[in-house]
Amino acid sequence: MDLLNRIIKKNESIAYRVIEQEALLVSPADNLIYPLNPVATRIWELIDGKRNINEINSIIIEEFDGGLIEIQNDTMGFVEDLLNKKLVFICNE
């Protein structure tokens, strides 16, 4: 299945707080800290184990300025980053 149609969920072991529209993610297992900018924070908030990446992408396009392709590429890049760092998982995997 295309990654865009996959549903993703947060890794439940990740601690995070959103402060002034910027999230700070902490991975308690290795004490790594990941500060997110406002767009990344919004994507993080939208990752709920129900929406697929395509749906998240549509909301980001609606809420933030920028070219459609550019936003889609940025969102995908960020989600891939989250997956690589095991901060999120693809559901049913």
Partner: protein, 280 residues
């Protein structure tokens, strides 16, 4: 049974053991932090581990404990139950009952054990141990935070007649509405402190050695991000990491935090006085 009660940052930790040796050692090391009478916030029994020769060679800590392959901490903290293991010791705490057990083998670092127990007690109370030196100046505490070689001991040595809380690890705790910084027995090259004292927290500085004096006021978020790696606990629990984030955010909203670039000169204090005054 031999026992002692320590008081650090206003929190009482009682340690007992059927073996007098570790208690004697702790009494000597934590002399100025002893406090005999108050009700303990946590009572911990120390018990030496009986190892098979194979275990003594360091293959496992003891049967049933999480296996640690190095001296790195393995901390499991769920709700009020904490389990920590290293090659030298294993800690089990039931915080709701204010009780715990430390099992240790020879060579266990008591400073590490006591530091961990206090890191947990403080976090539960909305405070923490931070990798920082602390100095009391005009009745207020100033905390200087940074990694090794950043200048914590240098600043402690520049304190002149001002009381030093520590040159390595400061305890910060919220009492009612105010934050206090306290002395700890966890010290660096400057050696142990002379008094168990605390003072209301005036400011936190993230320090950088430089050839000039300058500063930069940090937003609460910036301060939180900078402080977090300097907090002394490897908590493998998102529940308690979130509590730490909440506590830090409250602190950084209330207490001014700065990046401080400094030269190792006693002029530091007049420089700090100047910009604290101009920022108030």
């Amino acid at each position: 049974m031999p026992d002692i009660t320590l008081n650090i940052a206003g929190l009482n930790l009682r340690l007992d053991s059927n073996n007098s040796r570790p208690i004697q050692r702790l009494k000597k090391h934590y002399n100025i932090f002893l406090n005999g009478n108050n009700r303990p916030d946590l009572s911990v029994s120390l018990s030496s581990l009986k190892h098979s020769p194979r275990q003594r060679r360091g293959l496992t800590l003891h049967q049933g404990s999480p296996q640690a392959t190095s001296d790195s901490l393995n901390v499991r903290w769920k709700d009020e139950t904490v389990r920590i293991s290293t090659r030298q010791f294993a800690i089990r705490l039931d915080l709701s009952q204010r009780k715990g057990l430390v099992q240790y083998c020879s060579g266990a670092g008591w400073v590490d054990v006591v530091r961990l127990l206090y890191a947990i007690l403080l976090l539960r109370k909305g405070g923490f141990l931070i990798h920082a030196s602390g100095v009391v100046h005009r009745g207020r505490s100033y905390v200087f935070c940074g990694p090794s070689e950043s200048g914590k001991t240098t600043i402690a040595r520049l304190s002149e007649n001002r009381p030093v809380l520590t040159d390595e690890t400061t305890a910060i705790v919220k009492e009612r509405r105010n934050y206090y910084a306290y002395a700890t027995p966890f010290y660096g090259d400057a050696g142990p402190v002379m008094a168990n004292i605390g003072a209301p927290l005036e400011a936190i500085f993230f320090i950088y050695k430089a050839t000039h004096f300058s500063y930069q006021r940090l937003t609460p978020t910036e301060a939180l991000k900078t402080a977090l790696p300097n907090i002394m606990l490897n908590i493998q629990s998102n529940q308690w990491t979130n509590k730490l984030l909440d506590s830090l955010l409250l602190l950084t909203k209330q207490i001014p935090c700065y990046n401080l670039y400094f030269k190792p000169e006693t002029k530091l204090w007049s420089y700090i006085d100047g910009f604290i005054k101009s920022n108030n």
